[in-house]
């Protein structure tokens, strides 16, 4: 028997799945990796710890499941979070930790670039919003603030690039991760000279640019032995978690959109054209030569509901946040749609799409004497979804879609899925499981191996749950409140700036 393994290098965990050739899950394991915040704006991960965690989790899955059942591993496909940057010296050794997508140290670099004519040009060619998340601005930050270190840097890698280099000795970056750096011209698929110049680097300081189906090279002998893998096990560079999630949810071309709600969130569509937005609100990442994943990210997804749960949940069992969250969701379902006029802006972490305002903060609006704790709770969930709706709404100015799927654990909760359907007034799929990223990696592997003739054919095999249909009355209610939500989100810009300044001082 044969199998395909997928490895997902996420921001807080490494997840390894084993699939049979038909895409059925044989087993999976995860291993936690911490994010360090040495300063409030900083967000870093230890590349060696991620490497060791990946080895450990992979090895356990192989030893517990794959080897005892005599599965032959045909290929291992990688996916990773976008926007990470790791500087390595001329021996390939990391110069400190990797900087993750959540790091905001390059705020100044991003703001300056965004307001310049160079910025507009760079956004047009790279498709990546000018934001401190992008490696473009992070590398510029290192250039401006760590001059000595910058001189010693031989290459700038992504976390996945480092892991692959450790395994095979090759330096590579796939189209998807590359298109999230802000350094890649996504129309020509080559490094963009103006962006490189702003970052202060040459293309020689970046890994080789390759399609997502590319073999990352031969697994080093020692790892073949310790993992018990044969020399013909193929390592595929794979893609980014964002692109894989869309692929794994069966989104292919127009008419469908995908919502991710994890800690943060995103709304994404796929198409064969770049989505050009004069206001620079959307990202465009490359899956293959003619497949662009476009959309907008939010900072304030599930993490905001978690925050509320930690403050106000019951915690009958210590540390059981899932249980407390489910209880709260149950409680929220007792309040009618619209929370009887209580509106919540969820911008506790500042916001990216569509308002792109790092100073935005949370707001309760419209509190009256009849509102109870349960109203405050339901308003939080509605606020998170209004924000997700606002991304989808602006996306629809460019690209129409008829239905939606949700990945992340929230996509399995009927109450939550119904709310999304009602707010969007579109059918939304309710699902049993949520491993879209890994399934996307399986589809890439299976297509590369010729099990499917094309990605199009592969994507058609994705089986998702049934549609939940929207309730018209609820939709009408939500729309009335959404109008106020949308107005407040931009109207409060001056006050957001004032309060953020006070909070930072």
């Amino acid at each position: 028997m044969e199998c395909i393994i997928t490895i997902e290098l996420g921001t807080n965990a490494v997840r390894v799945y084993a699939f049979d050739l038909n895409g059925n899950i044989l087993g999976s394991l995860k291993g936690y990796c911490p994010t360090f915040h040495s300063e409030p704006d900083h967000s870093e991960q230890d590349p060696d710890q991620i490497f060791i965690t990946m080895l450990y989790v992979l090895k356990n899955l192989l030893n517990d499941l794959v080897h005892p059942k005599k599965y032959k591993v045909l290929s291992i496909c990688f996916s990773a979070s976008m926007h990470s940057v790791l500087a390595v010296d001329k021996s390939g050794n990391p110069m400190g930790n990797a900087i993750t997508w959540a790091d905001n140290r390059a705020n100044k670099e991003a703001a300056e670039l965004k307001n310049s004519s160079l910025g507009k040009k760079i956004y047009k060619t790279t498709g990546t919003p000018l934001h401190p998340m992008s490696p473009l601005t992070k590398i510029a930050w290192i250039k401006n603030n760590e001059k000595e270190k910058f001189k010693q840097v031989s290459k700038f890698l992504s976390l996945k690039g480092y892991i692959l280099q450790q395994l095979t000795g090759e330096y590579m970056i796939d189209y998807s991760i590359a298109s999230a750096t802000g350094l890649l011209n996504i129309h020509k698929i080559q490094w963009e000279p103006e962006a490189l110049k702003f970052a202060g680097i040459t293309s020689a300081m970046l890994p080789d640019l390759v399609p997502v189906f590319t073999s990352a090279g031969k697994l080093n002998k020692a790892y073949q032995t310790s993992l018990g893998l044969s020399v013909d096990t193929k390592l595929l560079v794979g893609s980014s978690d964002g692109c894989m999630a869309v692929l794994g949810d069966g989104i292919n071309g127009e008419g469908m959109a995908n919502i991710t709600v994890e800690d943060s969130g995103a709304v994404r569509v796929m198409g064969d054209k770049v989505l050009q937005d004069d206001k620079q609100r959307f990202f465009n990442y490359l899956l293959t030569e003619n497949r662009y994943v476009s959309g907008g990210p939010t900072n304030n997804g599930g993490i905001i509901f978690e925050w509320f749960t930690r403050q106000f949940g019951d915690f009958k069992n210590p540390f059981d946040i899932e249980d407390s969250m489910l209880e709260l969701i149950n409680e929220a379902s007792g309040i009618s749609a619209g929370s009887d006029g209580l509106i919540f802006l969820p911008y506790l972490l500042g916001e990216r799409a569509p308002i792109w305002n790092a100073n935005a903060r949370g707001v309760y609006f419209g509190i009256n004497i009849k509102h109870t704790k349960a109203h405050f709770l339901r308003a939080v969930i509605e606020g998170i979804l209004y924000e997700i709706y606002s991304i989808g709404k602006t996306l629809q100015e460019h690209r129409a879609f008829k239905n939606l799927s949700i990945n992340g654990s929230f996509g399995t909760l009927p109450f939550f899925v119904q709310m999304v359907a009602d707010i969007y007034n579109k059918p939304v799929r309710l699902r049993q499981n949520y491993h879209s990223v890994s399934y996307g990696s399986y589809l890439i592997s299976a297509t590369e191996m010729g099990i499917y003739n094309s990605l199009d054919e592969a994507v058609k095999t994705v089986v998702l749950g049934d549609f939940v249909t929207p309730e018209k009355n609820n939709h009408r209610t939500y729309l009335k409140y959404y109008k106020i939500f949308e107005t407040l989100s931009t109207k409060l810009a001056d006050e957001f700036a004032d309060i953020a300044a006070l909070q930072q001082s």
Binding site: A13, L29, K30, G31, Y32, P34, D46, D48, Q49, F51, I52, T53, L55, Y56, V57, K59, K90, S91, G92, N93, N220, K221, A222, Y223, Q224, T225, S226, L227, R310, G313, F315, P318, F319, I321
Partner: protein, 295 residues
């Protein structure tokens, strides 16, 4: 409680307890200037307020204590009233001889019944929190009362009882501190704190019990929580941190394999080498050779 003061130097009651340097109760009905001096403590001191309101400084930080509050003063910490004033009210205190070893661990001595692991974990918790005030620490008041009556009545078994009661103070302090810092809501941040402590003292031979104590959980629940949150058993997670650290150290040419092994908590370079190879396929020296070569 009545006023009393027993000092190791001259109190017969403390003859069997060389580790108790001082124990007493004061009831003060008028403000006394120069009645409460600023001192640097060499043992561990606990002051428990029964009545009144006291403004004390610990490490030059001001605290206000109300009845039920206790000041926990670690060895070497400055403590007293800023103006040396003894305020109106009543409080009890005990000074216990504890020594800090070269790593800063507080050693209680042979009188204690706590196991080495428990003792180490408690010492960690006290140091993480530093000298400070524990609010509503009424257990301390009750234990002080019991110690006092044991010392004065000297019924059969009082020597063991007093030492047990001292252990109990330490246990209650540790539990109260970990309850405050881990209110049972946010496992990710609790786990981050644990991770931080593990990394800070990686050479220590951590046990699961110690780790569990540090985050204020029983061992079984701790195991379950760590496993479901991180995918690792606590010990595997620790090994992972150790090997990640090893990878960094191996890339520096000037530190020996034995030193690396001991620095990151393996008891021998052999033990280090086996664990490293099991995970990476390379022995540490092979790994080092591969990475010191300039590519």
């Amino acid at each position: 409680m009545k006023q009393f003061l027993l000092c190791q130097k001259n109190a017969l009651e403390l003859r069997l307890f060389p580790h108790i340097t001082e124990i007493g109760v004061v009831k003060n009905s008028a403000i006394r200037l120069n009645g409460f001096l600023n001192i640097v403590a060499d043992g561990l001191k606990i002051y428990y307020v029964q009545e009144g309101k006291f403004e004390w400084t610990i490490n030059r930080q001001p605290f206000i204590l109300y009845p039920g509050d206790a000041a926990i003063i670690l060895p070497g910490t400055e403590f007293g009233n800023e103006n040396n004033v003894l305020e109106i009210g009543s409080f009890s205190w005990i000074h216990i001889q504890v020594k800090a070893n070269e790593k800063g661990q507080l050693l209680k001595g042979s009188w204690s019944c706590l196991t080495d692991g428990e003792s180490h974990a408690i010492s960690k918790i006290l140091q993480v929190n530093g000298s400070t005030v524990l609010q509503k620490f009424t257990e301390a008041g009750n234990i002080f009362k019991s110690i006092q009556s044991e010392l004065f009545n000297q019924h059969i078994g009082y020597q063991a009882r007093v030492n047990h009661l001292l252990d109990e103070i330490f246990i209650h302090m540790a539990r109260q501190f970990s309850r405050i810092s881990n209110p049972g809501r946010d496992f990710p941040s609790t786990f981050m704190k644990l991770e931080y402590e593990l990394r800070r003292d990686l050479s220590h031979q951590w046990t699961v019990e110690e780790m569990a104590t540090l985050v204020g959980l029983g061992t079984t629940l701790f195991n379950d929580k760590v496993k479901s949150y991180s995918g690792f058993s606590p010990v595997s997670y620790l090994i992972n941190i150790r090997i990640s650290e090893a990878i960094k150290l191996l890339k520096k040419p000037d530190i020996s394999l034995t030193d690396i092994a001991l620095n990151i908590g393996f008891y021998s370079s052999q033990h280090f080498s086996t664990t490293f190879k099991k995970l990476t396929g390379y022995t540490p020296s092979q790994f080092r050779k591969n990475h010191l070569r300039t590519k």
